[in-house]
């Protein structure tokens, strides 16, 4: 009964908002939230355009119709709302049927529709406030879907808009009070100060809350987004495209001076020329939503000729036909007990048409029916992967331990014939390379130990540098790196490991892809840049499958072997080396302090609220009426001071040119009831009636 009454009250027609400033401020705030949603790219262009035009038009229309009886309009709007909700569920169902479970776009669009429809009928302040609230919901949705921190600008703009709107609405609500001596402007200085105070408090509190909240976790992905913007299909199905290769794509790559074209990495190609030099820049290539960092593999190479890696078998197989696309095992892959590892890739820069993912990809949600699989397991899309492309990969990450790798040793097992290509070495590799491999690994009993020994030797005797001299004509890349320059980057280092392992009879290959990239703690996504392109080695272990090894991580940066010059530098170095531990300790301490503080604050606030509720329930007639009177005074920007008697306060409130005698009478009645010897029920009734007249609302 109470609920229905409350609903009825809420739906009573109220006076239309008089101040156009409130309307404009709310309109702008709503538009900002819409723009924020659109800028995050979750809305298709047509609905976006419709919203950008429709919302201002709706606000204008509802301003012009603010006095009209809008029953018919309301009915139309209700029907439109129902249609948009039905449409939302329709899209959801069809997306389920397509196997692409992605509700983000339909949900965002639904919210957009609601905003547009609602903006058509916002005559009163209450309706405007509802618009503001629903724009808050939209900002929340946008923030949840957002993959970049550029949303911060919109959040800032929106917060300003909301603050201004609320202040204007409050001003307007004060102007509505009956009995205000003087113009509205007389309250502004105090109101501005109070607003500034509360904004500061809210900002501080929200910062505290923000700091205390657990940081964004990418693992909460509950959908498998997949999307392809308009893209050109490639000429021949299954072929490889890479804009970074420019016109030389698939052509002979003999120009060794500078292999990088554009921003990307030239290694995603049919061949990898280790004599090429280049330095990819820091352009953001893609964002990855994943619960943990991993190496995002692109493809592998198996044939080495001393300078260039190539692929022995380049025949593509078409896979897919249903969503999600199931990825078959390829050579060397073994089914392993593994955990599902979900990664969503958001492409930010046109790149190769390779589908990246952690080893070993088992399912791919992709906005196309088919993908092409190379014999090494690399996946290629049938079209360009431009900016805006999204796909989700589910990988089975094998559970591998050091002891397992030590036990399953390829040197002690009869390798299958299919592993032969991964042991091939060209003629012409200098003998000292093989000798070195033998010497380094002489004391290592197992393959795993041998790999460790080789990595350790390279770490001790070579340095990492992107600026290495060009490869002399006729020189062997590995020999040059290991014996002449002793400097190299991931290609030289990874290739050297593969070549030395093959010379020892251990099957291995070179992989190209990306390192995890830097995690943006606001969005929780890994931001992968062009310079994060990487190559490393993969070794076949019988019974386990391919296992990646990154020798580059062990090789120190060139010019970094000097001992720290000062104690300070040593401390800094220690902190850098143990950054994760220091950071974690600090983080945990900070989190604990914040949690304790926050918990204490919360307890205090809850306690206060409970006390206040109890007090309100038990307060006397005098307290109740006095509080109402004080509320009237506060709305007139004249709160009561502690040392003011009720008569002094009323005198202050009625000090205007035309004193409000009703307030004075209420004050006298309160004084009589508070300090007099008897209770005068008639007087009380008079006081209540007068107060109700003054405030314009029921006292109870």
């Amino acid at each position: 009964m109470k609920l229905t009454e409350a609903i009825r009250q809420a739906n009573l027609a109220t006076e239309p908002e008089r101040f156009i400033a409130v309307r404009v401020a709310v309109g702008i705030t709503v538009i900002v939230s819409v723009l924020a949603l659109i800028a995050q790219g979750f809305v298709r262009p047509a609905p976006a355009l419709f919203a950008i035009i429709g919302i201002p038009a709706g606000f204008l229309l509802s301003y012009r119709m603010r006095h009209a009886d809008a029953l018919k309009l309301k009915a139309v709007l209700a029907i439109a709302l129902i249609i948009s909700v039905v449409g939302f569920f329709g899209e959801l169902v069809s997306s389920f049927q397509d196997g692409l479970v992605d509700i983000q776009v339909p949900l965002a669009e639904l919210f957009l529709w609601v905003q547009v429809i609602h903006s058509l009928h916002v005559p009163a302040r209450r309706d405007l406030m509802f618009s503001l609230a629903s724009s808050a919901a939209m900002m929340a949705i946008t923030a949840a879907l957002s993959i970049s921190s550029s949303l911060g600008i919109f959040i800032g703009l929106w917060a300003v808009g909301v603050t201004v709107s609320l202040m204007l609405a409050y001003r307007s609500s004060i102007a509505d009070l009956p009995f205000l001596a003087g113009p509205v402007a007389s309250i502004t200085p105090g109101a501005t100060k109070a607003a500034a105070k509360s904004v500061t408090i809210i900002l501080l509190a929200s910062m505290l809350v923000f700091l205390a909240l657990p940081s964004a976790r990418a693992s909460r992905s509950f959908t498998f987004p997949a999307e392809l913007p308009s893209s050109t299909a490639l000429g021949s199905p299954g072929s490889l495209s890479n804009p970074s290769l420019g016109s030389r794509a698939n052509g002979s790559q003999s120009d060794a001076s500078n292999g990088a074209a554009g921003t990307g990495y030239f290694g995603f190609a049919e061949q990898l020329d280790t004599s090429a030099r280049g330095r990819p820049d820091d352009t953001l290539v893609m964002r990855v939503r994943a619960s943990a960092p991993a190496f995002w593999r692109g493809q592998t190479f198996d044939v080495w000729d001393g300078v260039t890696w190539t692929v022995s078998d380049n025949t593509s197989t078409t896979i897919g036909g249903q969503a999600p696309i199931q990825v078959p095992l390829t050579i060397g892959d073994l089914p392993q007990p593994a955990d599902d590892f979900i990664q969503t890739f958001y492409i930010e820069q046109p790149g190769p048409n390779l589908v990246f993912g952690a080893y070993r990809m088992s399912e791919v949600y992709f906005d196309a029916r088919f993908l092409f699989q190379q014999p090494d397991g690399a996946l290629r899309a049938g079209s360009d992967l431009g900016r805006g492309a999204v796909y989700t990969v589910i990988s089975q990450r094998p559970y591998v331990t050091e002891s397992l790798l030590k036990v399953s040793d390829p040197l002690r097992t009869d390798l299958p014939i299919s592993m032969d290509p991964f042991l091939q070495l060209p003629d012409g590799i200098p003998q000292r390379v093989f000798d070195l491999a033998q010497v380094i690994t002489a004391d290592s009993p197992t393959t795993y130990d041998k790999i460790q020994a080789l990595e350790t030797w390279m770490a001790k005797n070579t340095t990492y540098s992107l600026d290495i001299p060009p490869l002399p004509d006729g020189a062997d890349s590995v020999d040059e790196y290991l014996f002449e320059t002793r400097q190299g980057f991931c290609e030289q280092i990874g290739t050297s490991l593969v070549v030395m392992l093959r010379s020892l009879g251990i099957p291995s290959r070179l992989v190209v892809g990306f390192i995890p990239g830097e995690r943006n703690s606001l969005t929780g996504l890994y931001e992968v840049r062009a310079s994060d392109a990487h190559s490393w080695a993969e070794v076949y272990f019988p019974g386990v499958g391919w296992q990646g090894f990154d020798p580059t991580a062990q090789v120190p940066l060139a010019g970094e072997s000097e001992p720290p010059a000062t104690a300070g530098a040593a401390v800094v170095g220690w902190i850098r080396d143990n950054a994760s531990m220091v950071g974690r300790t600090l983080g945990i301490t900070l989190a604990l302090v914040l949690a304790l503080g926050f918990g204490g604050m919360l307890t205090m606030v809850i306690g206060r609220i409970a006390t206040e509720r109890r007090r309100k329930a038990n307060r006397s007639w005098v307290e109740r009426v006095t509080e109402t009177l004080e509320y009237v005074g506060t709305t007139r920007d004249r709160p009561r001071q502690d040392n003011e008697t009720i008569r002094e306060y009323v005198a202050a409130l009625t000090a205007g040119p035309i004193p409000d005698t009703r307030l004075r009478e209420v004050g006298e009645i309160i004084a009589r009831e508070a300090f007099g010897p008897i209770t005068d029920l008639e007087g009380r009734a008079t006081g209540e009636r007068l107060l109700e007249e003054i405030t314009g609302r029921s006292l109870n």
Binding site: V622, D642, N643, T645, R647, A651, A655, A674, F675, P677
Partner: protein, 324 residues
């Protein structure tokens, strides 16, 4: 914003006797003392509380005129004593004289035996005389030669002193000041009022035309009535808060005594009566607190009533009033 009570409470039929007396007194006094409604109200409040008043001001602002008009309005007996160093206690209390006709000692009452007594320049009398005077004020009786003679009812004493002349004076000590319910500064009239005085509006000229508007019996009854005026516990707490605040104020070395809190309540009751109330509100306490307490506190920087008043204002600002 200071709360200003209505200028003169209307004496409605059925209003308490005290209020009726107060309102007629107020109207009468206003004809002589112009432009001082707040002071008049406080003086009437003190009168109704049964207390005595010390008026501290420079000569010529109407101290004596006030006392005379009060006496005239009450319609009782009125005596006036000028404080001088050779004034003896017996000059105030009276002496027993041997009357030969009856062959007995006969008491001849002094000037204290009147309803309204003015002691001008009380600080020029010797401490011994002052002590005798103050005993009479407190006990409302005098003892001469072992016989106790009660003073008439009501007995109302107005003492004056000039704060700016100290040569040849015996300043009242704190214990004696405490006997006065309230202290007032008359203050100079504003220009408008003073011009009115020059033009014959108010002042001594009106004194002769003043009629008695209350009988001493009425006044005595009214004082009885005011003593039992209703006072809520919250107002009593407010008084205690104020008194406690004077005891802890950094610039006050000795705060108000329990006698002071009793006096504060009594005068506040009187004040409530002057505005026609049957109960005490915090407004009444606030209105009289400065006059009742500022001569009863000892400042760290020496006694000065003007400074004490501003500190009392400070105290009142710092104390939270009861809700309502």
């Amino acid at each position: 914003m200071q709360y200003a009570p209505p200028a003169a409470p209307t004496a409605l039929a059925g209003a308490p006797l005290g209020s009726q007396v107060a309102s007629t007194l107020f109207a009468n006094l206003s004809r002589v003392i112009r432009g001082k409604p707040t002071e008049l109200r406080l003086i009437i409040a003190t009168l109704l509380s049964g207390g005595h008043i010390l008026v501290e001001d420079v000569p010529g602002v109407g101290k004596t005129l006030l006392a005379k008009s009060l006496a005239a309005s009450i319609g009782g007996t009125f005596r006036r004593v000028q404080g001088t160093p050779d004034l003896l206690p017996a000059d105030l209390t009276g002496v027993a004289i041997y009357r030969r006709s009856t062959e007995s000692w006969h008491f001849r009452p002094g000037p204290l035996f009147a309803n309204v007594v003015i002691v001008d320049e009380i600080n020029r009398a010797t401490p011994r005389t002052q002590a005798a005077l103050l005993e009479a004020m407190e006990e409302r009786q005098v003892s001469v030669d072992g016989t106790t003679h009660p003073l008439p009812e009501p007995f109302f004493l107005i003492a004056t002193q000039n704060p700016f002349e100290h040569a040849g004076t015996f300043p009242l000590v704190e214990g004696q000041l405490d006997r006065f319910s309230a202290i007032f500064e008359m203050g100079l009239p504003d220009r408008e009022t003073e011009r009115g005085l020059l033009m014959g509006d108010g002042g001594a000229g009106q004194l002769s035309g003043l009629q008695a508007v209350a009988s001493p019996e009425n006044l005595a009854k009214a004082i009885q009535e005011v003593r039992s005026l209703h006072c809520n516990e919250s107002v009593a707490n407010y008084i205690l808060d104020i008194v406690t605040a004077t005891r802890h104020h950094p610039e006050i070395s000795l705060g108000a005594s329990p006698r002071a809190s009793l006096g504060l309540l009594a005068v506040a009751r009187g004040h409530a009566t002057t505005v026609g109330q049957r109960f005490v509100t915090p407004d009444d306490v606030k209105a009289v607190a400065g006059s009742v307490l500022s001569h009863r506190i000892i400042l760290s920087g020496g006694t000065n009533v003007t400074a004490a008043r501003s500190i009392m204002d400070d105290v009142l600002r710092s104390v939270t009033v009861p809700r309502g």
